[in-house]
């Protein structure tokens, strides 16, 4: 599979949020404002790409060599947790605005299924290091795309008259469902 195919596939066709349903928590939680959604997207992109590289290296050079594949989950979680801590420190120092805007969602990346999901899928699909990087980058760009699109739509909600019973999360969930159906249109592209 060519690198370009991997990229297109993960961003549009197999979008992690809208067709694999991973990372739904931040998708609904941080999609109120485009600004925070973009920030979250960047944070996730950084963490997912970096953690995929590190988990890939650890998997190939340590776990596979010693026959410890069964430790995959716990080791990956350890890597992701440490990495998120690291990103949090860097962000607190370099961009306090983004840090306070992301708030509780940054530590939540630790327990976000998309990060672990991408890391494990990379291994399962049998990608090499370059493919892993493209797959992880594509996955998180796809996540960011879905998040920013959702945030854009939800910002418009403020201006329109929604029936009282549907205000807030109900309409967000319906929107997410419609977006998911729309992304099904990309099926067969790759």
């Amino acid at each position: 599979m060519s690198l370009f195919t991997i990229l297109i596939s993960t961003i549009f066709v197999n979008n992690f949020v809208l067709s694999r349903f991973l990372g739904i928590c931040p998708f609904l939680g941080v999609s109120n404002k485009t600004e925070t959604a973009t920030g979250m997207g960047i944070a996730v992109t950084f963490v997912v790409t970096l953690s995929s590289i590190i988990t890939y290296i650890i998997q190939k050079s340590v776990l596979d060599k010693l026959g410890l594949e069964y430790l995959q989950t716990i080791v990956f979680i350890l890597v992701i947790a440490a990495l998120v801590q690291f990103v949090e420190m860097v962000m607190k120092k370099t961009s306090p605005t983004l840090y306070s805007a992301l708030g509780v969602y940054l530590p939540l990346i630790t327990t976000n299924c998309i990060v672990l999901g991408v890391a494990i899928l990379n291994i399962q699909e049998g990608y090499n290091l370059i493919q892993t990087i493209f797959n992880a980058f594509g996955a998180s760009v796809g996540f960011s795309l879905a998040l920013v699109l959702m945030a854009g739509i939800r910002e418009k909600f403020e201006l329109i008259d929604i029936p009282e019973a549907l205000e807030g999360f109900p309409i967000a969930l319906i929107t997410a469902g419609l977006m998911s159906i729309a992304f099904l249109g990309f099926n067969g592209l790759v």
Binding site: V62, L66, L68, V75, L78, V90, K93, P96
Partner: protein, 271 residues
Amino acid sequence: MNGIIYPIIVLGGLGLLFGVVLSLASKVFSVEVDPKVEEIRKSLPGANCGACGFPGCDGLAAAIAAGKAPVNGCNVGGKPVAEKVADIMGVNAVDTVRYVAAVLCQGDCSKAKEKYVYNGIKDCRAQNILAGGSKSCSYGCLGCGTCKDACEFNAISIVGGIAIIDKEKCVSCKACIDACPKGIIELVPYEQEVIVKCKSNDSGKMVRSKCSTGCIGCQMCVKNCPQDAFIFENNLAKINYEKCINCGICAEKCPTKAIWSSLGKDKAANQ
């Protein structure tokens, strides 16, 4: 044996590696936080009740350090905390009056009549929807304990069908005031010894038919007050706490004992 040693070495090694990296990173990327914020945060109660209007104690500490909130911003901690915070900030604490919440109703089961027997959900808000509650007086405490549930500090108890607030435990977070559907919980100064514990705007005759300890609007308190501290409107007497000197004359004169007093002999009579 290798089956157990390798995993231990791998996991332990990774943990150690990440630990070292993170501790180095925390040094390199450490952000200088105003040491005052931390000190102020430590002297605050830490209940994160939000009564100050900031998101939790951390929010208030940051606001005080930045000069955006007064040193006595924490109602819950009251004077001791205000003094500590003022010390840290290097200013003098302004004397604050400590306020506590009080339920302005004394119509318990023995004093107030019931309209109907309420068998619904034990929640004042639910009962209030049903014709204003089962109490014949539409201003009275329903005694279902919604305020008690709202109180995070266990300061409220239900005695004889009405809520009583322990003023020693009350931190004036106003959670009960927001919870009460009748709006009969108000903040009164901690030092206050006499309080008109009735909110009824009904006429004297109506009050008498419903409750034996309501304010009937006779204005005996208004006439006898040496400080002219009473405000009388809508058939109800109210004390201006700034003028009141806690002499207790009003409580003695009140024919229905609607004026609650913790002074001397009245205390025994009330309990």
